[in-house]
Amino acid sequence: MAYPTPTTITAITAPSAIIAVEGVSKIFNAGEADEMRALDGVTLSVAKGSMAVLKGPSGSGKTTILGIIGCMTRPTSGKVMVNGKDVAKLPEHFLTDIRRRTFGFIFQHFNLIKGITVKENIMLPLYPTSIPIHEMKERADAILESLNIYQKRNYHVEKLSGGEKQRVSIARALINNPEIILADEPTSHLDTKLSEDLMDRLSRLNGEGKTIVIATHDPLVYDKPYVNRIIEMRDGKVIGT
Amino acid sequence: MRRKSFVLIVLSIVSAVFLSVSMALAADPLKPTSKDKCPVCGMLVHPYTQWSAQIIFKDGTYAFFDGPKDMFKYYLDIPKYNKSKTSADISDIYVTEYYSTKVMKADGVTFVSGSDVMGPMGKELVAITNDKVKTFTSDHKGVKALKFSEVTDADIPDGHMHHMK
């Protein structure tokens, strides 16, 4: 079933791999008429501190593999190692915990919650933790400032421009100080200038030591010189790295 | 003849004086206030006006009871409840008659035990005017009809309370 390539195998064994996926398949609606094989024996790895791009057309399985790495959904079969731990079979409670500590997500549609303010949106990932509320606020303020949207902190998110929303979603991804940032088509709703801006920020975060994985089919993203790894996908399979 | 009428007049005057003296000694029944408590069971008396009984002493002190039963308990064992009094100190005893709810002298009515009529403290010695004892006994399954002086300890129903309004 799996199509291992020499590079990925070495990557798994490499001690620096923060993410290692081995022979992962994902089948939606298994056994039904509309059964869909989104991933078919994917094996890949991402080294700690690298900036990786999952490249491929829509429907190639990029988002699905990102979801599996991010512990949002479970693979039908295969092994998923995050920080040396197999997360594929961990109970829900641990997955949530890993998600909260390890990952920051930047979504294609920003996925901000309407009806509450920018600051509240940014603080959301911290509510389930035991961090006291004043510290949450301090952290949120610091991040808002660093992203240059402090002045909009009390706006409702639906009143923001696309670029501002993008920055809010980055801020939210950063508030829990994650090791890994996962971004799903982050530039698809941004113009060129904002896209460049985003990539700048991500590369800076990468420079600060964060591992970054971006799923995209935007050349503006994967043609960047500082992207040190490109994993090409098609029809649920890795076709080249 | 003259002498005779003189004696009659003197007699009548004497008896009138005597009567009025004894009338002065007799006390009228009192109305329980909202503070009067039954010395036997400790309950307030005024909510049970159709049951209340009272003993009035010659010195004007008195005791209210929430029913004839407790009055008898007290009357038959005064030292237990009131060390300073004996039965000789009693001026009057009143009870409330069942049918009329009028306050009457205890020695003028009959007490019926064993009936199905419940007082505030359960089974009672129900005070009934003499002419209605028969009716009451047949209507309410009365067992024993006693004059005031005939009531003994043995006739007092158990104090187990079935609280009834």
Partner: protein, 95 residues
């Protein structure tokens, strides 16, 4: 959170209003005690037995005096054409 502040102040206001209404209720009950006493007097002196609320039919005007035992009028499942009849139903188990 600003929202929670709004919520709590709203709840606080409502609780104050309720507290006010509650004291108002107690106050009114006390103030209208004389009225209740007068109504008792009315009932006693005029020997009234019912509220003069529904004056549509005998059994709605005088529910307590209606002839429970007579046929038809208060038949437990009789069809009712007075709106109040569905509210002041025939009295059962009053015997």
């Amino acid at each position: 959170m600003i929202k929670s502040k709004i919520f709590f102040s709203f709840i606080a206001i409502e609780i104050i209003v309720i507290a006010f209404l509650y004291t108002d209720a107690n106050h009114t009950i006390a103030a209208r005690n004389a009225e209740v006493q007068s109504k008792r007097e009315l009932v006693r002196k005029l020997s009234l037995t019912d509220f003069a609320v529904f004056t549509e039919a005998r059994y709605t005007r005088h529910p307590s005096q209606a002839d429970t035992f007579s046929a038809f009028q208060d038949f437990p499942s009789s069809m009712d054409h007075f709106p109040a009849g569905s509210i002041v139903g025939p009295q059962r188990g009053n015997n």
